[in-house]
């Protein structure tokens, strides 16, 4: 692999990693705090995409606003999921939680068909981002740079939010020890609702970010979720920095994989996950 390819594919991989990172961040935070594995997390990505499409193209809103509103709408969906459904099954076996969220996967997939139809939807590329810059002598999409920027910005915000605010403290406290947190007078139910809908927001943002380059179809939710699981498990479930590392690994693997082992990319991702779990049972950076 030439140095040029190394850099160029590397950047491509980095942008892939950022979509995964936004998704994985939400999934892993929700797991860390609520202890719930959300199969519908990918469906929230899909809904985020559709929302962004509707705001941006159908309602002719400004692109940035559409991203924001899409994320918020995703958050609202998440809020409803937690407040009226998940809330009642925390005490139950893992399988019930998985099954419940799987039910949402089915519902959202058909809902997308009802509201947006079966055909792939893709809005035009916003002018400002619709160009390329020369990197190692080759045109590189500005949009991918934008995605990378957003990914890093969100990481920074998450860090500030969780490490520098009192709210972040309570989140981390209840992530490490629920009883202790509630003893400290944290309103656990409210916290759960907020955290889950925040996680949903991140998923929706990832999807919204994807709309101009990744057409939305009703089945997209199930096709992304497995990658996200792999990412979070590699990093360690409930471990935020772990999710970032996992996203980088899978993103770069997908990009370089095309050059190195073009015939085995799916297999490689699963292999990586299996190997990590075999040698670091709780993920690379350790999880719950």
């Amino acid at each position: 692999m030439t140095f040029e390819a190394l850099v160029y594919q590397g950047l491509i991989g980095l942008s892939l990693a950022m979509y995964l990172w936004l998704l994985a961040a939400g999934l892993t935070i929700a797991f860390g705090v609520l202890g719930v594995v959300n199969f519908a997390h990918g469906s929230l990505y899909m809904l985020g995409g559709y929302f962004a499409f509707t705001f941006y193209l159908t309602l002719q809103m400004n692109f940035w606003l559409s991203l924001l509103l899409a994320a918020v709408s995703g958050g609202v969906i998440g809020l409803i999921m937690e407040r009226f459904f998940l809330r009642f099954i925390y005490h139950l076996d893992l399988a019930y939680q998985i099954l419940l969220t799987f039910g949402f996967v089915l519902i959202f997939a058909d809902a997308a068909r009802i509201f947006w139809g079966g055909i792939p939807l893709i809005p035009p590329m916003p002018e400002i981002l619709d160009s390329t810059v020369s990197i190692v002598g080759r045109p590189f999409p500005v949009y991918n740079l934008f995605v990378i920027f957003v990914g890093i910005a969100v990481s920074a915000l998450l860090w500030l939010l969780l490490d520098k605010t009192s709210w972040g403290e309570t989140v981390r406290a209840s992530a490490s020890d629920r009883e202790m947190a509630s003893a400290l007078g944290v309103n656990i139910p409210r916290l759960f609702t907020v955290v889950f809908s925040f996680a949903a927001m991140l998923a929706a943002l990832s999807g919204a970010l994807g709309t101009p380059v990744r057409a939305m179809t009703p089945g997209i939710g199930t096709s992304v979720i497995i990658d996200v699981f792999i990412v979070t498990v590699i990093g360690g479930l409930g471990n935020l920095p772990g999710a970032f590392v996992g996203a980088l690994i899978i993103g770069l693997m997908k990009a370089y994989g095309v050059l190195l082992f073009p015939d085995a990319d799916l297999f490689m991702t699963y292999l990586i996950m299996a190997l990590v779990l075999l040698f670091r049972p709780k993920g690379l950076l350790g999880g719950r």
């Binding site: 040029e4 160029y8 035009p124 045109p139 999409p141 949009y143």
Partner: protein, 416 residues
């Protein structure tokens, strides 16, 4: 062969006679005035839902058309539709359901895997299916021609036209020396690419393959594949991912500025309405620099015949959408069944099979001939450059149409 299948059938009926007696609610013997039932299936859930929708629209539209003109031999046509989810076992279940509902014929099926699974079971069901989307050459070459399964027919074009037609279109273009493949990593992508470059190399030994990448089903981001190919500076990129994947792949290609450097992007199935609808805006804004070429197994703006115009007009009126190839193929398949049945004045499977073999029929797509050897409907399909003009159509469409006689690019028995 026919006699053999007849024998199977008798055996089959004998075996289930006991069941039939008590299964009145499931199997009604056909009387003259009962409707002729046609079972249609395709994928209408998940990412490819629009293809099943098109099959459904085509079938229902054909039925309405035929019934308006007095039905088939005076009997009304009734269409039953089911979602096959692109899964073999669901498709087989649906076929059994149709059988139980006493359908006379079956049409549809999107996935190659599904049609290959369904084909061999048709004799057991004693039902004809005219496949109207699935493109694998194995269906007609292996199952019909080599294995002699006479219940299989295909009204749509096999991979020949995705793969061999472009070779014919570009063989004389001396600027194209370096070709690359962005393949869908499954049989359809593998076969198409193999057929394309072997055919092209026959005419143009000087052409070299500079890159091959394979993307699995349900790929959300093709940028790694596209950039890997772009690095190889190809003149022509041959791409097989279809439906939603084609739409997002083409957008990603534009963001990578691929269309500045290449001369041609050949998009298999790019002429499909859902894809054209998806990429219309980019076409309108010249994102593809007129370098995007595509084909489909039927396109609404060819042939330029009154029959086609009438079909397109009334179809769009009925459904508010332009007909996709799967819609036209299904529509025409049902008319083929009508013609065959009326020709022998019977809806018995064996009779209709005989009648369909060699049947000539004028359809919106032009004249179709059902080859007796492999039961493949032979008809011409154009390839063209993707363009946009809202005066002509609300969505992107194909222009600069290159039409070759089907005989040039259809593989012929004995398929060696």
């Amino acid at each position: 062969m026919a006699s053999k299948s007849a024998f199977n059938r008798r055996q089959f009926l004998k075996a289930t006679a006991g069941g039939v007696a008590l299964a009145a609610p499931f199997i009604q013997p056909a009387q003259a005035q009962d409707p002729i039932k046609i079972g249609a299936q395709g994928v209408s859930s998940g990412s490819h839902a629009d293809y099943g929708r098109q099959i459904q629209m085509g079938a229902r539209f054909a039925a309405e058309d035929i019934n308006a003109k007095g039905g088939i031999m005076g009997r009304k046509v009734e269409v039953l539709y089911r979602d096959d989810e692109l899964i073999n076992d669901v498709a087989l279940k649906n076929a059994r359901f149709f059988k139980a509902q006493g359908v006379n014929f079956m049409v549809g099926t999107d996935s190659s895997g599904v049609c290959l699974a369904l084909g061999p079971v048709l004799p057991e069901l004693d039902l004809i299916q005219v496949f109207t989307h699935a493109a694998t050459e194995k269906l007609t070459e292996d199952l019909v021609f080599k294995k002699g399964i006479k219940h299989i027919f295909r009204g749509s074009v096999p991979v020949y036209q995705d793969a061999i037609l472009p070779a014919l279109v570009f063989k004389d273009n001396k600027d194209i020396k370096r070709i690359a493949n962005l393949g869908a990593d499954y049989e359809y992508g593998r076969t198409s690419w193999a057929m394309f470059h072997t055919t092209l190399k026959k005419f143009r030994p000087d052409v070299e393959i500079v890159g091959e990448t394979w993307a699995p089903f349900f790929t959300a981001d093709f940028t790694p594949h596209i950039s890997a190919l772009a690095a190889k500076k190809p003149d022509l990129i041959f791409a097989t991912p279809w439906a939603g994947e084609a739409v997002l792949m083409l957008r990603q290609a534009t963001t990578l500025g691929v269309f500045n450097d290449i001369r041609v992007w050949w998009q298999c199935m790019g002429g499909s309405v859902d894809v054209l609808e998806g990429i219309s805006r980019d076409v309108a804004t010249g994102k593809f620099k007129d370098k995007l070429w595509a084909t489909a197994r039927y396109i609404w703006n060819w042939p330029n015949t009154p029959e086609n115009k009438a079909f397109v007009g009334s179809f769009s009126e009925r459904w508010g959408r332009l007909p996709n190839y799967s819609a036209e193929c299904t529509y025409s398949a049902i008319f083929a069944l009508k013609a065959a049945a009326e020709k022998v004045d019977s809806v018995k499977t064996a009779d209709v099979i005989k009648a369909l073999e060699g049947l000539e029929l004028s359809t919106p797509a032009g004249k179709r001939v059902y080859r007796p050897e492999d039961h493949q409907a032979v008809y011409n399909v154009p390839a063209g450059r993707v363009t946009y003009n809202k005066e002509v159509a609300p969505i992107a469409y194909l222009t600069d149409l290159k039409v070759f006689p089907a005989s040039d690019y259809f593989r012929n028995p004995p398929f060696n």
